[in-house]
Structure formats: structure tokens, C-alpha cells
């Protein structure tokens, strides 16, 4: 019996050395380790052998089984590795094409990695929405809350409550779309700025207030490359017991640095808006020329970004905030101007005419 085992072993080793693929290895395994293999038969027949012989054969047969199992495992690994290597050798420099002429990855590799991928429909947010989110996020990080308000407004909120009574020359700064109303009704309009929300927010909350208000505004204006009848503004308002002009500067400097980059210089100059005092216009140094003067900045080296100021005491009084106790700052910026500057867009009308060839660039 032991001779038989030795014979099986030598035969199996012989065959093993000539195996060329996994299929043949599997056949080998069935032949030498399968249920019907000689080795399995011998192991099953052990019980019928005399005790002495049984011991000897059992030890040898189990040893042979372990040997076969190890050989099988090792050969399997090396055959797999051989197959991978062959595959790699095949893909390099060889294009595999099925008879139909359709390039296929089913065999090995693909015919040409420069072929375009399968198209996936792609959506994007409008550049205004993207910039709006970016700017609001900056102010949210500075403790501001985002609120929104009506676009159709009463004259009171858009003008009178902001120190712009009827016949005030500052009304020339805001060309207005008026809404048809019944005679005797209060004058209704499309808000010309987001500032009316200063009044609405203060009317319904007590200080401290810290909000930003994004939204559409409207101007009764013939459109051209720099003028639109509808555009977006973001209004900011902070009111508290110790809010100062220095806080306004700090907040807006921080905003400008985060949006435009640390290297931008920021400038505050005096300007006039009826509902703030002192009034401010903030500019950054021109990103195109770095301040030496070019077409983008009309030779001044500076680009106006927003208007701001300390909330006028008369405005505070109108919403029953005591200007002796509270001070506040407010700012308002035109949104489209910012992507126009950052991306070199030369016509504001592109934003809301929604040409997909424009929108897809952002």
C-alpha cells in the first residue's frame, strides 16, 4: 500500500509540473484529491486494514494529502500570477478587437483610453447662486444670519423710512419701477435696493441684530453692458450697544480678504447714502493692474465693491431703537459685479439672459 502511495505521489508530481492553466489544475485536484481519487479511496479503506499497517498507511496517506493540498494552493497562486502576467503582456502594445469591430474591454484592456467616456448629464448652479452662497457663507461664519424679504415694497420701506422722503434729490440715485395701484392706495414699487429689509428686520426684532439679506432688486434703467433692470444685492446690518465704525471696517475687511484673497488691499472712503452717517464706499485694489491703473479700474487703481456706513440715528429712531443706546452698521453690495470682476465678464446682461454657453462656464 505504501508503494502505491509513493507511485501516486510521483505520478502527481510529474503531472503537476506540466500543468499550464487553472482548468488543468482543477482537473488535477479532482484526480488526486477528489472524492473518487485513489488517495481518498485509500483513506476511506483504512478501517479495513490491520492495526499495524493501518497506522503506517494512515500517516503516509495523510501526509500525502497535506502535500497535495499545499501543492494545489501554491500552484494555483503561481498559475493565477502567470495569467495576470500574460494579460499584462497582452494589453501592452496590442489592441484587442472583437470580430464585430466594436472595441471591447471584455478580453483584456480597452482599445484606446483617449476615447470619450459615456456622457452623464451635468447640472450647475447659476453663477449668481454660487456667488450668493459664497458671500453668505462668509458672513454666516462672522455670525450673521441670512434672511430674505419682499421684492415688491411700499414706498415707506424703500425710501421714507431710509431718510429719503418724496422730493428728496437722493431719489435720483434710485430710478424706480412703480406698481399700478388703485387710486388712494399707498405707493407700491419694486424695491430698488435690499435696504428696506433693514427697517423690516429692526421692526420685528430687538438688538442684537446681525443679518445679511440677499435678493433681487430692480432699477428703471435702460440696459447696457453695465446696467440691468434686475440684479442682486446683499445687504448687511449689525446693531448692538457697542457697534462701531471700526467694527464695520473690521467686518468688511475680513469679508474682502476672504472673498478676494489676503493679498488684496482694501480702501474705505467717505461717501453719501441718506440712511447712514458716516457713509462709506469700500474699494479693493484693482486685480487686473494691482493698483497702477488700467481700463478695468478706469485708471484709478481701485475698484468699488460696496457702500456702507453707520445706521443713521433717524433710521434707528423710526424703528424705536434708542440711538443713545444702540449703534449699528449697514452695507450693501451689488452681486453681479463680483463675478464680473473675478472672471472678466464684460456684460451684466449675460447673467439673466441665461445663454447655456455662458452658464456652463461656471
Amino acid at each position: 500500500m505504501l508503494e502505491k502511495l509513493a507511485e501516486i505521489k510521483s505520478k502527481a508530481i510529474d503531472e503537476l509540473s506540466s500543468l499550464s492553466d487553472l482548468r488543468e489544475l482543477e482537473a488535477w485536484r479532482v484526480r488526486y484529491l477528489g472524492k473518487k481519487s485513489e488517495l481518498t479511496q485509500i483513506l476511506r479503506g483504512l478501517a479495513s486494514l490491520p492495526l499495524e499497517e493501518r497506522k503506517a498507511v494512515s500517516a503516509s496517506a495523510n501526509e500525502l494529502k497535506a502535500f497535495f493540498e499545499t501543492s494545489h494552493r501554491e500552484n494555483k497562486e503561481s498559475l493565477k500570477e502567470r495569467a495576470y502576467q500574460e494579460m499584462e503582456a497582452a494589453t501592452v502594445g496590442r489592441q484587442i478587437t472583437l470580430p464585430t469591430g466594436i472595441p471591447s474591454a471584455e478580453t483584456f484592456g480597452i482599445p484606446d483610453v483617449t476615447l470619450p467616456g459615456r456622457p452623464i448629464p451635468l447640472g450647475r448652479l447659476h453663477p449668481t447662486t454660487q456667488m450668493l452662497c459664497r458671500i453668505c457663507d462668509i458672513f454666516v461664519a462672522l455670525g450673521f444670519q441670512v434672511v430674505e424679504g419682499p421684492e415688491v415694497e411700499w414706498d415707506y420701506y424703500n425710501f421714507e423710512a431710509l431718510n429719503i422722503p418724496p422730493d428728496h434729490p437722493a431719489r435720483d440715485m434710485f430710478a424706480t419701477f412703480w406698481i399700478e395701484t388703485e387710486s388712494g392706495q399707498r405707493p407700491m414699487l419694486l424695491r430698488t435696493h435690499t435696504s428696506p429689509m433693514q427697517i423690516r428686520v429692526m421692526e420685528r426684532t430687538q438688538p442684537p441684530v446681525r443679518v445679511v439679506v440677499p435678493g433681487k432688486v430692480y432699477r428703471y434703467e435702460a440696459t447696457d453692458a453695465t446696467h440691468e433692470s434686475m440684479f442682486y444685492q446683499i445687504e448687511g446690518l449689525a446693531v448692538d450697544e457697542h457697534t462701531t465704525f471700526s467694527d464695520l471696517k473690521g467686518t468688511l475687511y475680513e469679508f474682502a480678504k476672504r472673498l478676494f484673497g489676503e493679498e488684496r488691499r482694501v480702501r474705505f472712503r467717505c461717501d453719501y447714502f441718506p440712511f447712514v452717517e458716516p457713509g462709506v464706499e469700500m474699494a479693493i485694489d484693482c486685480m487686473a493692474c494691482g493698483g497702477s491703473g488700467c481700463r478695468l479700474c478706469s485708471g484709478t487703481g481701485w475698484i468699488e465693491i460696496l457702500g456702507a456706513g453707520m445706521v443713521h440715528p433717524d433710521v434707528l429712531r423710526r424703528v424705536n431703537y434708542d440711538p443713545e443706546v444702540y449703534t449699528g452698521f449697514a452695507f450693501g453690495l451689488g452681486l453681479e459685479r463680483i463675478p464680473m470682476l473675478l472672471y472678466g465678464i464684460d456684460d451684466i446682461r449675460l447673467f439673466y439672459s441665461n445663454d447655456l454657453r455662458f452658464l456652463r462656464q461656471f
Binding site: 459615456r118 456622457p119 444670519q145 422730493d167 435720483d172 461717501d271 441665461n354 445663454d355 454657453r357
Partner: protein, 794 residues
């Protein structure tokens, strides 16, 4: 407002370069929008005409000998006004001049004119680029120094300033000079306005009566007789031109000059034409006036006029009447210098669409203290330039005089607003430089008297701005707000919009933002209810009303883009619609709408793609709803905007939240859309919002094995597949049902359809036995048969 630096220098010393000066002005609130250099002439000098001889070969030409401060040159001159003793600009050959015909720059060459060599040229204003005048040579003032380069003598830089509406005092050269003085620490010199009076007192010759003192707080007048009207001297004309005004005659020019200098508009009447020699300031009646521009203006009782004994002679503060205009024949001039109610002036000038230099100043609120000083200056200049006599005295009717109280300002207030302590002395110094008079009340408090010209300064806060802007905003500290954060109020609609937009972008949809204003015609094309708010003053009919649906903008965007898009177009917009409300602001409702058309996939080598269909659009909505945690039902609808059969109402929690369908070809055609089919959906976000607010709750991942079974049934065609699915899902052991096949055709009877579902059985608490699943499956099948007449398909 234009301000030549040479003119500013009359009142304040300016050592700064024009660029530095404009930077200082800009930073402190007076924006310099441009610097305009006049001159830049080379090879042109001041000369004196010393001899004139006729040209031997031409009747109209002369030979003018010009002394250039020692050197004498002779040039051929064609100007009719050349005369001995004139100071003139003389161009040497090589000088660059403007060709009067073409307007282009040309270089003067040495040449012979009709046989005589010309050593140079005496120039006209047009050739020098000073004005359009070319009737004759330019004549310089007699004191112009011969031999001096013209650029040194006449070259100048003019500041172009944007004056904010709160600072009418800066619509004057003196006002700007005051700013320059404060910004540079120099003194300001105001011109002397003393003059000699002669003859009768004005009181005996003319009278002024103000009938409406609320509209005219003050009216001052002087009278000049024996005046000779003629052109103004060149220096005066130059200044008017530099400031953008046209010289007319010495009388009118003085009123304009003094207005530019002091900021006070003035008017000159031909006194002979003032009926009854009375000036009455009153509201207009039903009457009309021909204004200086030749227009007949109908006046109404809300307008203030200057009238004589009979009729209006001027629209107060807006424009004078043609009937009392100063002409060549005028010898007696009544000069008006008054103060008018700004709102009234503004209303009148808007009504007439007549924004004059005068009305632009009056409407911003000038000081009532200004007229007298300006009047003195004008009277002095006019008498001097016209050779007239000044009647004794000044008429000054001043019913609106008001005491201006000083403002109390504490250093604490300054610190409270600016965030930095500024010493009282520094505050007083800065304010003093602007003409404010500060008196110390206590160690930290000042009493500040506002100079009369600063009508914009009323409060302590106004003074704080003055301090800040003169010190310079850039020199103030930079801090962040220190107080407590306000209580956070969540805004679920904003959160929903952000989420919806991001999901749709993930579904391959492009966001658009379209105009809120649209046309009634467009609304009528796409919606059955076009009741919209109308704009009272639309610019175009395309933007005449506020949208009540997002459809117009989306469909117009689709129409505009389909010409250059050859794959698919998938657009959505989240925006407001504006629904009118009786006697109130409209309801502004947040809506979502989308359109899809074209091919499912972009064209590629992977093969042709099918066209998008109803279920692509529905798939987007289902994905959206699933991500929002909402289970919508789609029910057949009757919306006529869509094609019959391909339209559905989207129902959430028993309420319709929107609609979906294939755009009716009739609607598509009206909207100028050539793509077919087009799918459109519309969701009312306000109605959807509550369903999205249900709190999220985690469900444990089932541990027990699943059993898959298929159910294929044949039902009548009109039975919605959702009803079949609902019955299957109704079985308590079923955890998920997927429709994987839908068929109508030869294999099933006429009027029937086959539906095949894959049913997933799973219990959260135990392993299901085959028997249990079989029983459940059987129950489902018998319920389908009982309730829907379904038969099993083999």
C-alpha cells in the same frame, strides 16, 4: 461739477500735484471722476501784434508782425479781428495744432501763403483746442506777458467732480476750495465784494413782495443802470468754458460765473421789461410763460413763479422767461439772488423735465444766508464789466430767517461711533478747518456752530463723519463686533431651496435665473390665470408685469437656447411668483419649475440615445422627493398647458403641490419652441415645505434574510399600475416592490396590460419560512383578482 485748479488757486494755496489733490478729495467724499488737462502746448508763446500790413497778393489776408518779447516775426493772417496792440497766441512752425476743418492734430509747417513766407501762425481758440470758436484769432488779456510759453500762461488741469446730493455747497468753486483748505491745512480767501453805489436808492425804483414765504424764504435784488451789454472778457469766458458753460454776454455770464464761484444761482432781468417795476414771488395761476429755451410752459398753482405787476417773468429757481431776457439792447438790469424751497423746485423741474444748473442746486437745499454775499459779488462784477451804475442799497426780503442752534458734541459720542478716542482739541481743530466754530463747554464737550453753507449738518453724527473723513477713514482702527450673537432663527424655506437646487443639479439640471418681469401676452400663452401686478412705468412691454408663474422665463430660455444646443436641455429655476392681493403687497411665493427636452444622453460614440420622455422628467421629481423624504402620488390631470394623457398632478399628503406634463404642442409653438416633446414641471415649494419638515428617524438595517418572488399580472389598461403596486405593498410581509416589466401588445388580450413586479419579502423580527411567503403571495394575488380583476400571467 468741473473745477479748474487755476480757479481754485484764487481762494486757496495748492501745492499738491493734481493727482494727489484728487486722491485727497476722493477719499474725503468728493469723488474726482476725471482730470482734464487743458493746454500741453509746445512751441506756442504769447505775442503782441505790433504792426499790420496788407498782403500784396490777397485782399483778405494781412501780414501781422508779432513781438515775442524781443524777437519779432511776421506771419500771414486771415483773421478779420487782428489788430495792433492785441496779445495773441503765436505758434512757431513745428507746433501741434488742431485742424479747424478735420479736427485732427496737425504739425505747423513753414510755408509760403500766396507767395509770402509766414514765420508762424496766430491761433484761434479752435486751433488751440480751447473752444469751438474760429471766427477770428484768440485775443489774450492785455497783461499777458509777451514771450511766455502759452502753456505756462493758460495751461491748466480741471477736476471733474461727482458731488453727492447732500453737499450742494460743493457745487461751487469756493466750496471745493474750502474742502481743499481743510484737507491740506491751508487758509481760505473769499473774494472782496465791496463796491461803490451811485444815484438813486433801489427802494424808490423797484419793489419785491413774497406772497408765499414757505416756498421762498428770502429774495434779494440789486439794480444796475446805464449798463452796456457786450461780450465778457476772455478770462471770464475761459472759465465758463472750462466749467462747461457757454458764454452769452457780460450780464448773463456774470450770473453764471458767480453761481459757479459761490454756488448761488442768480438771475438777471431786463429791468425795462418788468411791468410796474414790481417783483411778486407767488404761486402760479392758470397762466403760461415762454421760457428762455423758447418753450411755452403751462404753469399750475403748485409752482412758484417770479411775476411782475402783470405776469410771470420766471419760473422760480428753474428758468427765466424769454420776455424779460437781457439782450444787447438792455441798459438796466435787476439781479435776483434768492432762496427757494427745495422740494417745490424739484417737483417743478421734474414736471417740466427741466434740470437747469439753478434747479439742480436749489433742489438740494441751499443756505438762505448765501444769496446776499453772491448778490454783492455779482453786482460788483457786473457793474465793472458793463460800465453800469449801481443803484444805492439792496432789496432783501427775508421772511424765512431761522436761528441755527449749535450742536453739542462730546468726545464720548465720537468714540461711541468711531470706536476710537479722539482728543477734544483734535476734534475742534478738524472741525475748525472746515469752518465749524467750536466752543468748549466742559472737558469732554464742545458746542459746535455750523457754518451757514453746511445745510447738510444737523446732528452730532454728522459732525462725527466730518471728523472721520478729514482724519481719513483708512486711519481709523479695524476691529470685529464684540457683542453677543443674536438668537438664531432657522429659515426652513431657505434650507429647502438650497437642498432642492443641489439635488436637481445632481440630477443633471442646469439652474437658471430669469426676469421677474414679463409680458401679459407671454403669461396668457402659458397659464390660464393671467391676473398680474402691472408696472406703472414699464420700459418695454416685455417687462410690463410681474410673473405669476415661472413658466414664461423657462420657456423663453429654452427657446433662446435650442438653436445652439443639439443634445438635451434640462433647466430649472427656483424663484418667486407675485400673486396680487387686494389693498396689500402681493404674496411672494417660492416656486420651482423645470423643463426637459432633447436626448437622454449627449451624442457620443457609445451609440445613439433615445429622446427624453415623460418618465425622465418624472424620475427627476421622484429622485427629488425621495431625497426630501416625501412620498408623492402622481394623478392624471386636466391642465390644458399639457398634452392630453401626458399630464399629472403631484399630490403630497392629499394636497396638490404641483404639476408635470408634456408641453402641449400648441403652447410650445406659441412660445417659439421647435423641440418636441418638451416636459415641464412646476412645484409650489410653500405647499411642499411642511411635508419635508418631518423629523428624520433612523430605522435599523434588517438582519433577517430576504425572499424574492415575482408577480406578473394582466389587468385592464385603465387601471393605474400604482393601484396594483399599492395592493402588493399592502401585504405586511412585503418590504419592497419594484415594477420591472410593463407590456401591452400581441401577447396579452386587447384592452389589457401586463405588469410584472419583483416583490421582496422580509421581516424585521424573524426569518420567514417558504410557507409564510407562499401564503402571503397567494393572498396578494387573490386580492388583486378580487379588487382589480387581475389574472396571473404565466
Amino acid at each position: 461739477m468741473k473745477a479748474p485748479i487755476s480757479w481754485l488757486r484764487e481762494y486757496v494755496e495748492i501745492a499738491l500735484h493734481p493727482e494727489e489733490l484728487s486722491d485727497k478729495l476722493t477719499m474725503s467724499g468728493t469723488e474726482v471722476s476725471g482730470l482734464e488737462a487743458t493746454g500741453g502746448w509746445e512751441n506756442i508763446v504769447v505775442g503782441e501784434v505790433v504792426a499790420i500790413a496788407p498782403h500784396p497778393n490777397a485782399d483778405r489776408l494781412t501780414l501781422a508782425t508779432v513781438d515775442l518779447g524781443g524777437e519779432r516775426l511776421t506771419s500771414v493772417c486771415g483773421a478779420p479781428n487782428v489788430d495792433i496792440g492785441q496779445k495773441v497766441p503765436f505758434a512757431h512752425s513745428g507746433a501741434q495744432l488742431i485742424d479747424p476743418e478735420s479736427g485732427e492734430l496737425v504739425r505747423l509747417k513753414k510755408e509760403k501763403i500766396r507767395g509770402i513766407a509766414s514765420a508762424g501762425m496766430i491761433c484761434s481758440e479752435r486751433e488751440l483746442g480751447i473752444s469751438d470758436r474760429h471766427e477770428g484769432i484768440m485775443v489774450l488779456p492785455p497783461d499777458a506777458p509777451s514771450g511766455t510759453p502759452l502753456n505756462e500762461y493758460l495751461g491748466d488741469t480741471t477736476l471733474d467732480l461727482y458731488i453727492t446730493p447732500n453737499r450742494p455747497d460743493l457745487l461751487s468753486i469756493i466750496g471745493i476750495a474750502r474742502e481743499v483748505a481743510a484737507l491740506t491745512g491751508k487758509a481760505i480767501n473769499i473774494p472782496d465784494t465791496r463796491y461803490a453805489e451811485a444815484g438813486e436808492s433801489i427802494g424808490g425804483k423797484a419793489s419785491v413782495e413774497i406772497r408765499d414765504p414757505d416756498l421762498c424764504p428770502r429774495y434779494c435784488a440789486t439794480l444796475i443802470t446805464d449798463a452796456k451789454v457786450g461780450p465778457s472778457p476772455p478770462w471770464l469766458e475761459q472759465r465758463l468754458l472750462a466749467c462747461g458753460m457757454r458764454p452769452i454776454n457780460n450780464i448773463v455770464d456774470v450770473t453764471n460765473y458767480v453761481m459757479l464761484e459761490h454756488g448761488q444761482p442768480l438771475h438777471a432781468f431786463d429791468f425795462e421789461k418788468i411791468s410796474e417795476k414790481r417783483i411778486i414771488v407767488r404761486r402760479a395761476r392758470n397762466e403760461s410763460i415762454i421760457t428762455l429755451d423758447g418753450m411755452v410752459r403751462d404753469l399750475s398753482s403748485d409752482m412758484l413763479v417770479i411775476a411782475d405787476g402783470q405776469r410771470p417773468v420766471a419760473i422760480a429757481g428753474v428758468m427765466g422767461g424769454a420776455g424779460s431776457e437781457v439782450t444787447e439792447a438792455t441798459t438796466a438790469v435787476l439781479i435776483e439772488s434768492a432762496n427757494f424751497n427745495p422740494a417745490s423746485i424739484r417737483r417743478t423741474s421734474i414736471k417740466f423735465k427741466l434740470g437747469s444748473e439753478a434747479s439742480l442746486r436749489f433742489e438740494k437745499g441751499l443756505s438762505a444766508e448765501l444769496p446776499l454775499q453772491a448778490l454783492r459779488r455779482a453786482t460788483q462784477m457786473m457793474a465793472e464789466l458793463s460800465g453800469g451804475k449801481i443803484a444805492r442799497g439792496i432789496i432783501d426780503v427775508y421772511p424765512g430767517k431761522r436761528e441755527v442752534k449749535p450742536i453739542s458734541l462730546t468726545t464720548k459720542q465720537v468714540a461711541r461711533i468711531l470706536g476710537i478716542k479722539i482728543a477734544r482739541e483734535k476734534v475742534a481743530k478738524v472741525l475748525g478747518s472746515l469752518g465749524f466754530q467750536c466752543e468748549r463747554v466742559s472737558p469732554g464737550e464742545l458746542s459746535v456752530a455750523v457754518p451757514y453753507w453746511r445745510t447738510d449738518v444737523r446732528l452730532a453724527e454728522d459732525l462725527v463723519e466730518e471728523i472721520a473723513r478729514i482724519i481719513g477713514y483708512d486711519d481709523l482702527p479695524t476691529t470685529l463686533p464684540s457683542g453677543a450673537l443674536p438668537r438664531y432663527k432657522p429659515d426652513p424655506m431657505r434650507a429647502l431651496i438650497e437642498k432642492v437646487s443641489n439635488i436637481l443639479v445632481g440630477c443633471g439640471m442646469q439652474e437658471v435665473i430669469t426676469y421677474s418681469l414679463t409680458s401679459l401676452a407671454m403669461l396668457r400663452k402659458v397659464t390660464p390665470q393671467p391676473a398680474a401686478l402691472k408696472v406703472a412705468n414699464p420700459i418695454t412691454t416685455e417687462q410690463e408685469c410681474l410673473r405669476t408663474t415661472l413658466r414664461p422665463g423657462l420657456l423663453q430660455t429654452l427657446s433662446a437656447n435650442e438653436k445652439h444646443e443639439n443634445n438635451s436641455i434640462r433647466l430649472f429655476e427656483v424663484g418667486k411668483v407675485y400673486l396680487p392681493r387686494e389693498g396689500d403687497l402681493p404674496e411672494e411665493r417660492h416656486m420651482l419649475s423645470g423643463v426637459l427636452c432633447g436626448t437622454r444622453l449627449d451624442q457620443s460614440w457609445h451609440g445613439d440615445s433615445e429622446r427624453l420622455d415623460f418618465f425622465d422628467a418624472k424620475g427627476v421629481l421622484e429622485t427629488l422627493m425621495e431625497r426630501l423624504g416625501v412620498a408623492p402620488r402622481f394623478e392624471p390631470s386636466e391642465d390644458k398647458t399639457f398634452s392630453p394623457g401626458s399630464r399629472a398632478t403631484i399630490v403630497v399628503g392629499g394636497e396638490s403641490v404641483g404639476t408635470l406634463g408634456e408641453l402641449h404642442p400648441r403652447v410650445a409653438e406659441r412660445c417659439d419652441i421647435s423641440s418636441r416633446p418638451v416636459y415641464l414641471f412646476e412645484i409650489d415649494l410653500e405647499r411642499l415645505l411642511p411635508a419635508t419638515m418631518a423629523p428624520l428617524k433612523y430605522r435599523p438595517i434588517p438582519k433577517f434574510p430576504i425572499t424574492l418572488r415575482d408577480i406578473a399580472v394582466v389587468v385592464n389598461e385603465e387601471i393605474p399600475s400604482k393601484r396594483v403596486q399599492d395592493i402588493i405593498e399592502g401585504s405586511p410581509l412585503v418590504s419592497r416592490v419594484t415594477l420591472f416589466d410593463f407590456y401591452t401588445g400581441k401577447q396579452v388580450p386587447e384592452g389589457k396590460k401586463s405588469l410584472a413586479f419583483r416583490v421582496l419579502y422580509q421581516s424585521p423580527s424573524r426569518t420567514l419560512t417558504d410557507e409564510e411567503v407562499n401564503r402571503a403571495q397567494q393572498e396578494i394575488v387573490s386580492r388583486l383578482s378580487r379588487e382589480l380583476g387581475a389574472t396571473l400571467r404565466q
